[in-house]
Amino acid sequence: MPDLSINFAGIKSPNPFWLASAPPTNSGYQVMKAFDAGWGGAVWKTLGVPVVNVSSRYGGVNYRDKRLIGFNNIELISDRPLADNLREIEEVKKHFPHHAVIASLMVQSREEWHQIVRDVTNAGADGIELNFGCPHGMCERGMGSAVGQEPDVLRTIVEWVMEVAQIPVIVKLTPNISDITEPARAARLGGADAISLINTIQSIVGVDLDLFAPYPIVDGKGTNGGYCGPAVKPIALNMVKNCAQDPYVQLPISGIGGIENWRDAVEHILLGASSVQVCTAAMHFGFGIIREMTAGLEQYMAEKGFHTIYDMVGKALPNVKHWEELNLKYKVTANIHEDKCIGCQLCYTACEDGAHQAIALREGTRVPEIIEENCVGCNLCSLVCPVENCITMERTDDGTEQLTWKERTLADTIPTTFNDERAGGLHHWVPEPTAALGKEKHKTLPGKARQITNVAPAPHDTVRQP
C-alpha cells in the first residue's frame, strides 16, 4: 500500500489533498465534515479585515451539456467574525490533531499581520497561507492581488509575517501576472517556507444578451471576477511547472487550479507540486469526490511502484523543455484504423479547412484516407476524432537522428529560406487557391438549397409497403 502522507514544509497531512481556501472551508462544521470524508487538510477561508459581500456571487461556464467547466466568483474573504473562526479552528484541531489546518490570511498593516499571525497560531493552526491572490474586491483596498502583482510589496509583507511566525508560512500567488516566477522568487527572498498557486484568474464568464451585463449580475450590473475550475488547469499546470523549474524559487509547491480527480492531482504532482488544493470540484460535487481521488492516486502509485508522494513529485519536469530543445527530426503521421472509423469525416474537414489538406475522401466509402506526403503530424485529426484510438499518430522517422533548433543555432545552420519540407516550405505541396472553389460540391445539399435541376428522382426505393 503506497504511503499518501506528506510533510509539506513542516505541515503534516495524511494525504496530499487539501481543500483550498474558499467557501468549502468557511466554517468548522464544513472542515470537520471534509476531514471525516477523507480530506487530508484544509486551508481555512481567508481571515482578515471585515468585509461585506454582495448577493449573486457566482457565474459559470458551461460547455454544451457540461456544467461549470469554468467557474467565477466575486466573493470576498471570510465575512464571519474572526473570533468565531479562531474558536472553530481550535475545535477542529482538537478533533483532528493529525490533519492539516492552514489559516489563510489577508490584512494590511504590519501590526495587523503580526496580530493575526499570533491569533491563528494560538488557535492551533498547523500553518499559514498568505492570500496575495484575490483579483477583485480586496485589491482595491491594497490587498490580495494588488500585493501579489508587486514582488517588492509582497516580499516586504512576507518579511513582516516571518518576524513573528512560529509555524510554516505558504505564500499563495496570483496568476494575474505575466511572469509567475517573479512573485515566487520574492516570496522566497522574504523567507517564506512554501508557495501555493494558482489563485483565480481575472475574468468575465459571460454576458447576459438581454440585460447587456456581465455574469454574475448584481442588480443589473456586474464586475470582473476570479476564474477557476477545470478550464484553468492548463494555466495552473504551466505556472506550477515554471515555479518548480526556477532555480531561484526552490520552495515546496502546493498545486491549485482545476483539480477535480486523481489524474488532475497526479499531473500537478508530476510537475512539481507536493500537495494539491481543490475548490471548485468540492463546490460542485461536495466532499465525496475525495474517495475517487485517493483511490485513484493509490492505484496509480501502486501500479508505478511509487512508495511515497515524493517518488513522483516533479517526475515530468525533466521532460518539459524549451521549444528550441525539441528534436526536429522526430516525425509522426496520422493513421486511420478503418475498422473503428464511423465516417463522421470530422478529421477530413478539420485537416482540410484547419490544417494541411492531408486527408482525402474516397468514392464509395465514408472512411477518409491520409495523404501521407502532406501530413505534418500536427495531431489535429486525432484530436477531433470522436472514436477512441481510431486515429493514431505513428512515428515514421527511424529514431536515429536528433537535431534541435538550439543545436542548429550553435552549428550556425538555421535556415535562411523557407525550406521546412513538412509544412508550407519549398517542397511542400499546397493546393492552388482557386482549387478551393467548388471543392465540396459533392456535399448533400440541404432541402432548402435544392433546386429543381438537381433533385433526385422520386424515391421509389423508400416506398412504404401496403
Partner: protein, 442 residues
Amino acid sequence: MAEFFPPASEQEFHANFAQLKPRMNTTEALYESSRCLFCFDAPCIKACPTGIDIPQFIRQINTGNVTGAALTIYEANYFGNACGKVCPTEVLCEGACVYNLQDVKPIEIGRLQSFATRQVIESHKHLFEPGQPNGRKVAIIGAGPAGISCACELRALGYEVDVFEAKSQPSGLTVHGVAPYKITNEEVLAEMDYLQTQFGYRVQYNSPITSRPDLLALEEAYDAVFLGIGLGKTNALLLPGEECENCVGAVEFIEQLRREHHQILVGRKVIVLGGGNTAMDAASESARLGAEDVILAYRRGKDDMGAYDFEYDLAKSVGVKGLFNVSPLEIIGNGRVAGVRFIRTTTVDGQVQAVPGSEFVEDCDMVIKATGQAKQTTFLSLIPGLQLDSKGRIMADTHTYQTTNPQYFASGDALNGGAEVVNAAAEAKVAARSIHAYLSAR
C-alpha cells in the same frame, strides 16, 4: 394476452396509446443535442427525403436558438413536427447516424425536430409569409401532406392557392391513418393551423372533386392543378364472406379509430390479414384497444413481410402473434365474422403455393384486411392525357413531377404508390417549384 384493458375514456385511450416519441424537455434536448458530432457532409441529411440540415438545426438547439432550429427544419419540410414524430427514422435519418457504426444509440433526430417545431407552433412564432402576389393561381386537390406542402411553397412564391379537400380536416392520412401512438390529432392539426395562418392559402373542406365538370372548372380557373389525392380505399379480397359486418379494411378501421378513439369497438379476437406496415399498425392498435388476442396472418414467411422490422417488433411487444404461410380462403360467419378459413402455403421460386389438404379454421370475431390501398384510377381517368403506370401510379417527370398533362403536377402517395409523409412533403416542395418554373417560362 390482454396487456391493455379496453379504454373507456379519452384519458384511458391516451394511456393505451401513449406517444412513442414523447416530447423532449429542455434539459433532454440540451443533452441530446450535445451528443451530435456535427458530421461533415452528414449522412443523416442524405437519408432524410426532405434533406433537412440536421446538424445545423441540432447545433441551433444546442446554442439556445430554438426558433432558428425550427426555421431550418421548416425551410426543408413543412411537416416538420409531424415528421419528427411519424417518420420511420430507424430507416431514415437516425438509421444513417454515424453513431450506429459504433453501436452507440443514434441521435434522436426526430424528437429533437419535434422539440424545436412544437415550440414555435405553440408560441405562434411568425417564420414565414406569402411572397409578393404574382397574379397566378393554382388549384390543389387534396389537403394531405403533399397538398399542404405544395400550398405553402406556392404561397411563398407568390401564388394564389385554393385547396379542395374531400374531408373535413387537413393533413390527410397524418390525422386519419398514422397510428395514434405516433402523433395525436391535436398535434397534427395545430401544425396545420400554424402553417395556414402564416401562408394564407384557402382550403375548402368537404369539397371532393369527383367529376369531369369539376376538373374542367379548375382547369379553366387556375394556371395549374396539383394532385395530392393519395390513395383510395382498402383493396377488396374478393373472398366469400368478405361482406360480413365486422370484416373491415385497415385504412377504414384506422380512420374510424382516429376519429372516435375509445368509442370504437374492437373484437375480442382479431385477425389482421397482411404483412405490411399498415397491418402492423392495425394489429398494434387492436391490441391497445383491448383485444384479447390479435393474430397477424400473412401469406409468406416472417422475413418476407414488407413491414419494417421495428414495426413488427412494436406489434410483438404489445402481444400480437404472427401466423405465417397461410392464405385466407373464406371469411366464415353469418352476417358477423366467426372465423377465417385458411390454407397453408409454401413459397416455391418466389411463388406462393397452397398446400393441398391443409385447410383449417381460425376462430375470431373481427377481421381487419390490411391488403393495400386501391389507387384512384377511376378519378384519375377523368383527366385528359394523364397516364398511369401499370401499378396505377401517376406517371410524371422524375425531376419536376409534371404529369403527362402539362397543366397537372402530382406528388405523394398518388405518385409514388404509397410511401411516407416525409416523401410527400419532399416531392410536393419540388413540384411547387417546378410549377413555378413551368408557369414562369410560359
